[in-house]
Amino acid sequence: MDGKDSLWGLFQQRGLSRRSFLKVCMTITGILGLSPAMLPKVVSAAEQNPLPVVVWLHGHECTGCDESFIRSQSPLASDVLLNMISLEYSDTLSAAAGEPFEHHLEEVMKRYEGKYLLAVEGGVSTGNEGTFCMVGGKPFVAALKEAARGAAAVLEIGSCAAWGGVQAAKPNPTNTVAVHTVVSGKPIIKIPGCPPIPEVLTGVVMHYAMFGQLPPVDSQGRPKQFYGNRIHDTCYRRPFFNSGMFAEQFDDAGSKAGWCLYKLGCRGPETYNSCGNLRWWNGLSYPIQSGHGCIGCSSNGFWDNDHFYDRMPGIPVAKTITNADTIGLVVGGAAVAGVAAHGALSVLQKSKRRSGEHEEVGGPKA
């Protein structure tokens, strides 16, 4: 192997310095929990080792995350699959099947022990000793634990892996849980969303391939560069919220004018995701731009957070303009007060939901 496809090779191709390469190796040493004395070994592996190996498992899921993954525009799916990572095991894309495929997984786990990234799509069914989700004649939960043992890090791909997902919504008949509930002792990154935005999924992989380390995460384990803001904070319709201009029902004048969808149940004010800034298809649209409120698909437990079209509890709103011709008459005072209050109040929404409190603090009822 000439090392051209190694991490060092990648750095050279991208004109990055030896110094930054060594820095990354130090970080990897840290991530892998190795002693600093191991650094020369990591450097040598990164100089010679080929592409980062990825093993992608499927639990209770719908394959929407794979579909999202291959929709990425930058990087393109082919560049990810052929030049950024070596995807050695994937139920969806791998050529092989059955026994040779399972045998290959065993080999990969041995050969790259402690080095491979484990991507998990789907929740983990734990009911009935895991027999509600069988892969290769074994419960998925067992296969997951085995694969996690030798992984360098675990990526929870999508809301099912990160939170349990739709099958874990009440009454959760298969007793499905998030990956981190059954896997521990590894760096775990959450990439929630149903599905996550394509470029968010490949962005995390690209970050690892480019910088040799996982991206910085927030307190919940989500990459800050993709989940650092609420959709509400980056929404192009935010000025209409601030001005108290709302769609009152679907296809009304406010809907056509593209006003704020808060009163139609939009969960943008409590949802952390990149829909407002990255949008889908590199800026083409996102649910709010297409006229439907956010359903909060990257939030924990969003399936059980009320009827989708009930306005969120706890946010004061300004008086609503229902006629486009009266825009000039908007008085901003109430709206400004509302904006100041809603940031602080969003923290309270969960507890309000739990206590069944659905009255808004101020403003008229929808």
């Binding site: 192997m1 080929p50 592409l51 190996v53 899921e61 719908c62 394959t63 929407g64 995350c65 291959i70 929709r71 393109l76 799916a77 052929l82 070596s86 995807l87 994937s90 969806t92 894309l93 791998s94 050529a95 092989a96 099947a97 059955g98 040779p100 495929f101 290959h104 009935n128 000793e129 027999t131 509600f132 069988m134 892969v135 290769g136 004649g137 074994k138 419960p139 739709v166 099958q167 919504a169 009454p171 008949p173 599905p195 679907f250 296809d251 809907s255 056509k256 593209g258 889908w280 298809w281 649209s285 996102y286 649910p287 297409s290 006229g291 439907h292 359903i295 698909c297 989708f308 486009a324």
Partner: protein, 631 residues
């Protein structure tokens, strides 16, 4: 006799296991078993929820055929509540359905199915210049110059066109070579690349197809732009009961839909038509002809005996489905059952499958004789509206319940039920749709719409290319794959047709996208029930809802892969997967590539097919999670 297990079956959606009993001397498959090995219980999850939310839950049944379950659910709720959606919403949903069919089929062929036909290893032996020449020959010989109606066409020239230069194929070949030499095969690892079936095609076809695998991997995203424009994202675009949330206005710069947004949809549909016409259809027909000429006409199985469809693409809005109005508006009238097509058109028998029929338990029902569920009355099949089941996991024949060796074909062995038409299993999907429409038109049952005429024209054109009649090539593994490609061409033009219709309607001054008259649950009857039908990429799909006091009292989905991948019935009669495996010859016992190719020709979607059914009104607590009967 050797028993061969393949688990997991990959390059599909969800979790599937197959087992075959093989006579090694003759290569004959004596028996075959297909098992869905996961159960998610989404119908239980949506019980007691607001019917206006359910589309989003059941949409997550499947992220591959995304939107199909959502639209089926919306149709079921609207049928129950008597909601007629606006014309624009009907056109938009049809665009979303048809572009999803195109996307689903194209990705299935290139990224899930192609590696059963072509091999990157074989591509290394190809001559890049000869591959370029082959590309020209393929376009000349295998393009199908058929099209749907086009009111206007802003596409000046085909933007998506295959490259036929030596340099292109050499670069792709060099990349494959590098991957192989580095020993990191990634997704190409561990396949039976030495299987004799990979020698059916010359090396140049392998290189051409692998190049198109990569090209289409990077282009497929543009096919579903209509989902992103109208539904905000993909997978899992957004909808609403009563129509579409994407309001239309040419007077507002912030409107979800205005001229610029429609231009993006137009560009996407044009690119899609080019991709299908220049890549998918010629590639499939070129590979298909080489296979058929070499005598590969096996894998038909149940398709020769019985196929079933519900019909789709309402040309105009309709007042209901259960009342029969939906069926009067369809452009693709594949509703019905055709038996014995394998014996030729003369012997083929068409049976009507009306709205009244599908709501009749004597016509449509499901059994659980070999499924890990139990029914209250043993041996009695139940209609989806009346369904009742508890999980009853019994484990395998050999091995333990968490470490299977062999499943038990004589007992329960799958999380899938067995759907039946008049007590019989049937195949559904693109092949079924094509057989039904062709039979109905040829027998004079219907006067063809432009859609149905195109179906017949396509079948006749391909029969000419292959020089064999439809009953020989259609009900086979190759035919199933070819019918999907033909249907993709058809659906690309259906998108175009409904886009034109949308533009014309907006031009006439109608911008309505949602009927909100019955948005408020106070306007609903105390109790109502409805059915939502679609022809999803994998076949006939039906959703069933019972609404009580504003909530879903019962919800069920009978999905295409359940029809196809189901376990055998009480008489031991096989479903479509099992029958097609039995109808397939295997050359190398421990490398059953032919079996996987045959099963993958159905485009399996297991997450779609594994469900649980509950009696209307029963409390959620009825679901027992303990398989051994303890409550």
């Amino acid at each position: 006799m050797k028993r061969v297990v393949v688990d997991p079956v990959t390059r599909i959606e969800g979790h599937l296991r197959v087992e075959i009993k093989l006579d090694e001397a003759t290569g004959k498959v004596e028996d075959a078993l297909s098992s869905g090995t996961a159960w998610r219980g989404l119908e239980v999850v949506v019980k007691d929820r607001d019917p206006r939310d359910i589309w989003a839950f059941v949409q997550r049944i499947c992220g591959v055929c995304t939107g199909m379950h959502a639209i089926s659910s919306l149709r079921a709720v609207e049928d129950a509540l008597g909601i007629e959606i606006p014309k624009n919403a009907n056109s938009i949903r049809n665009i979303m359905l048809s572009c999803q069919n195109v996307h689903d089929h194209l990705v299935h062929f290139y990224h899930l199915h192609a590696l059963d036909w072509v091999s990157p290893v074989a591509a290394l032996k190809a001559d890049p210049k000869a591959t370029g020449d082959l590309q020209n020959a393929v376009l000349d010989k295998y393009s199908l110059p058929l099209a749907g109606p086009m009111d206007f066409n802003f596409n000046a020239y085909p933007k998506e066109f295959p490259k036929a230069t030596t340099a292109y194929y050499k670069t792709v070949q060099d990349k494959i070579k590098k991957i192989v030499e580095n020993g990191q095969l990634g997704i190409f690892s561990a396949q039976w690349w030495d299987h004799p079936d990979y020698e059916v095609l010359p090396p140049e076809v392998h290189l051409l197809a692998v190049a198109h695998y990569l090209n289409m991997l990077d282009r497929q995203r543009d096919i579903v732009v209509p989902h992103v424009i109208f539904g905000g994202k993909n997978p899992h675009p957004h909808f609403i009961v009563g129509g579409m949330p994407c309001a239309i206005s040419m007077n507002d710069m912030n409107a979800p839909i205005n001229t610029e947004r429609l231009a993006a949809v137009d560009a996407s549909i044009n690119a899609t038509i080019d991709m299908v016409n220049s890549f998918y259809v010629p590639d499939v027909l070129a590979i298909g002809e080489l296979y058929v000429k070499k005598g590969y006409v096996d894998g038909g199985g149940l398709a020769k005996e019985r196929v079933l469809g519900f019909g789709d693409f309402p040309d105009e809005p309709y007042s209901g489905i259960a009342n029969g109005e939906y069926h009067k508006k369809l452009l693709l009238r594949c509703d019905g059952v055709v038996e014995n097509f394998g014996q030729g058109l003369d012997k083929a028998v068409y049976h009507e499958l009306s709205a009244q029929d599908i709501t009749d338990p004597a016509v449509l029902a499901e059994g659980v004789d070999h499924s890990w569920y139990s029914y209250p009355e043993k041996g009695k099949d139940l209609h989806p509206w009346e369904g009742d089941t508890e999980p009853q996991f019994t484990g395998p024949k050999e091995g333990t319940k968490t470490q299977w060796k062999y499943l038990d074909e004589n007992a329960k062995y799958s999380w899938l039920k067995t759907p039946k038409w008049k007590g019989k299993t049937a195949e559904v999907g693109p092949l079924a749709r094509y057989i039904i429409v062709y039979t109905k038109v040829k027998k004079g049952v219907i006067q063809p719409t432009w859609v149905e005429k195109m179906v017949v024209d396509q079948i006749e054109a391909v029969s000419k290319v292959l020089s064999v009649p439809p009953e020989v090539w259609l009900p086979t593994t190759v035919g199933r794959t070819a019918a999907r490609a033909l249907e993709t061409q058809l659906n690309a033009y259906i998108s175009k047709y409904f886009f034109d219709k949308l533009i014309k309607n907006i031009r006439s001054g109608d911008t309505s996208t949602a009927n909100t008259e019955k948005w408020d649950p106070k306007t609903w009857p105390e109790q109502a029930r409805g059915v939502g039908l679609t022809e999803a990429p994998r076949g006939a799909l039906s959703h069933w809802i019972v609404i009580k006091d504003g909530k879903a009292a019962n919800y069920q989905a009978v999905v295409p892969t359940t029809w196809n991948a189901c376990p055998r019935d009480s008489q031991g009669v096989h479903g479509a997967y099992e029958a097609c495996m039995i109808d397939t010859k295997v050359k190398v016992a421990d490398k059953p590539l032919e079996i996987l190719k045959a099963v993958r020709s159905f485009d399996p979607c297991l997450a779609c097919s594994t469900h649980l059914y509950d009696t209307a009104g029963k409390p959620i607590g009825v679901v027992h999670s303990d398989p051994y009967g303890k409550k």
